[in-house]
Symmetry: C2
Subunit: 441 residues, 2 copies
């Protein structure tokens, strides 16, 4: 593609001659502002968003066999014969009775002279694989015995019994605790938190329920604003009335209920600076949407919350991340999960997130000035190349192309780089134009 | 003090014999539970809290001359003759006209043949001192010229002019931006963000207004729940109806208004795990209070918010931090400010915060089991010793004593260590007992 054509940008032929001017940055700025005139009336953009939303609502959960389908599958819990482990959200009574049954079977084994032993799913990395059909990382079904009468496993068997009893106590009180709380209830036994954390994940797998069902929660750092109403522990939260700060996403997803929305899409934002701009400009009033961010690396609470929104509201999810390998990595955690939590990937992941921006191709398309782009470090390039090998990237040809562009130009840019065209360029020009052109992949 | 007497703990003589039992941890646990019986009815605790709150409401802002007084002084902005710089919150019109006046005076200087130059307060560390009377770090009144016609300062003078014009543009639009946004508007000139950030602080000092008045905000990470109602950008927020997640503290304090509360005190919590416990147990319904946390190191938004609450509601502030040198350091940032923001210490600091817990003396008093305490590292001890030299610690004899206890025992403990007595020990026994005994320093 010729330089001139490549530079023509999203609006077509506009601005070809200005790009020859010596002062590149200011020409880029006036070009960027000229994009404003390309914007159609909001009504017309809203019409296409409505079509997108209704298509998203109608799409049936794809079956695992439909090739390439990014299923938002409520995996069939009855298919216990499947090759991978699926844990599910369970209520207090169900988890408690699962613990009771497990402990009873151990007791029976002791009484029958077969000894005290747990059967624990193996969570080693060789047991964690990416399933293209499901488009997420899963934990294969392979178990190991954890007998008490074995010098290698005696300690771990004890820790497992203790964690089971602690979780039982938490559930009986109907409260939630953090992993740190759990560790401190028996420091002498657990020695360090990594041990109780690991066994907690084991217990999730053994019981077949999510860690949130065990009422052991991670700290939350996510916030949400926009066209969303939900109940947090019974309190009705209207996210259009949460000011600029937004509502902190609750750590305990099982206390979230009554989700309602008239939004047309969910806008997932990598960082809080962009979130603040969108919240202050009340972007959701112009284009009805729900805006949320985990302020960097996605935490479990935000991932659970996003998935709940997607499952219940069936809205398309559009993502705004930095144009660098970490932006893509963050997307991958939302979409496919992390290896560490592979056993719970069905509940933690939100498939079919569209990459709205800032994409490597946007840098030229929107003529982000050279000085607002940053050179990629050797480490960035290494991470970028690793991402090219990730199955979840390879599945999507347009993503591969974008990542190749990034690695070829060796340039990265933050969402904030759009501020070089004005502080409100993001909300007034860039995003509306992206939505108008349905420019997501 | 004999071992027996030291171990007698807050309730007096109780439990002396159990401490001889071999299983120390479980004896400590049963002793800890026995403290429950020491609790008086809530009404009686509430009566003393009401007395505390009304004393706090009546206390007049102490003058700078009253020795040792921790003044919540709205420093008299008229006293421009004072030896240190006081910046103040200013509305958009006031800041804009200050910028206009500043630029006019520069223009006049050019026309008079004296050249283009700014006079900028020096923010070097030798110019930052702790004033015991004010109990905070302030910036002394010493200025340096920043002429354009000097090869050393030409660049900085240009950057200063550019930042002034950007701030002017932000104020004219009535929006808020982040430091990162500001940097990206002219990367070519600013080169790296440290430069635009530093000049932004210079501009605050030059104009005599807070950075929030410039509408350049930091990202927020704090959350609040409890007996508080306020308006965030016009939306009415009732913090008793914010579920377990709480309300994210808004980044732009000037959009906060209409603060109302029937709380008796403000409970400042270091970390989110303790915050979650308090929120889930709705501690504020039993003891009317406002609970807030910055989730670790206090950010500017949370510090501004706390100060606003204290100034407008005149409530006592009680702090729950880890029993380690960093817990104390976090307290010092809330109370006295950080050196970096010394010019704005009057607006960012909240004097007279009471150290409720977890204090080094609590570890024995509440018999926190040995295995839940952690040995201090060499670095911890070094930081602890440095804290002993800090003026703000030296001012308070009981704080010195606590810190000496920490350094003598070489032990630290997190708030979460209280979970060793049960997940809800914090909210059901420890805090009520602390409040009952008015055990803060």
């Amino acid at each position: 593609m010729s330089e001139r054509k490549r530079r023509a940008g999203p609006g077509g032929a506009a601005g070809g001659s200005t790009s020859k001017k010596p002062r590149g940055a200011s020409a880029a700025a006036s070009y960027a502002q000229s994009l404003r005139s390309k914007l159609r009336p909001d009504d017309s953009i809203l019409a296409s968003l409505r079509a997108l939303a209704s298509a998203s609502a109608k799409s049936k959960p794809a079956t695992a066999s439909s090739a390439g389908a990014k299923a938002l599958a409520e995996d069939d819990p009855a298919s216990a014969s499947s090759s991978y482990i699926v844990v599910a959200d369970q209520d207090i009574n169900s988890v408690t009775s699962r613990i009771n049954r497990l402990v009873l079977s151990v007791a029976r084994s002791i009484l029958a002279g077969r000894g005290f032993s747990f059967s624990v799913p193996s969570r080693t990395s060789t047991n964690q694989v990416y399933l293209p059909d499901l488009d997420r990382i899963v934990l294969l079904r392979r178990e190991a015995a954890r007998p008490f009468a074995n010098v290698v496993t005696a300690r771990k068997a004890t820790v497992t019994a203790r964690v089971l009893s602690l979780v039982h106590a938490v559930l009986r009180r109907g409260i939630h605790v953090t992993k740190r709380d759990l560790f401190y209830t028996d420091v002498k036994l657990f020695e360090d938190q990594a041990q109780s954390d690991a066994v907690l994940d084991d217990v999730s797998c053994m019981l077949g329920c999510t860690r949130s069902s065990l009422h052991v929660v991670a700290s939350e750092k996510g916030v949400v604003v926009g066209r969303l109403i939900f109940h947090d522990d019974g309190d009705r939260i209207d996210c259009t009335r949460m000011g600029v700060g937004g509502k902190a996403i609750p750590p305990n997803i099982d206390r979230v209920s009554g989700i309602e929305s008239d939004a047309l899409f969910i806008l997932l934002v990598e960082k809080d600076a962009a979130f603040m701009r969108l919240a202050e400009d009340r972007f959701y009033n112009r284009f009805p949407c729900i805006i949320l961010t985990a302020k960097g690396q996605p935490d479990v609470a935000t991932r659970l919350f996003l998935r709940r929104l997607k499952v219940e509201l069936k809205l398309p999810v559009l993502a705004m991340v930095d144009s660098d390998p970490y932006g893509l990595k963050i997307l991958s955690v939302y979409m496919c999960g992390s290896k560490n939590m592979s056993y719970d990937s069905a509940n933690l992941t939100t498939p079919d997130i569209k990459w709205l921006g800032v994409r490597p191709s946007d840098l030229d398309k929107y003529r982000v000035p050279e000085q607002c782009r940053l050179p990629m470090s050797d480490h960035d390039i290494k991470v970028g190349k690793e991402m090219l090998d990730e199955d979840f990237v390879k599945q999507n040809a347009s993503w591969v192309k974008e990542l190749e562009t990034m690695l070829r130009t060796k340039q990265k840019a933050e969402i904030q780089a759009l501020s070089s065209f004005g502080f409100q360029y993001l909300t007034e020009v860039y995003l509306p134009l992206k939505l108008q052109q349905e420019d997501w992949i």
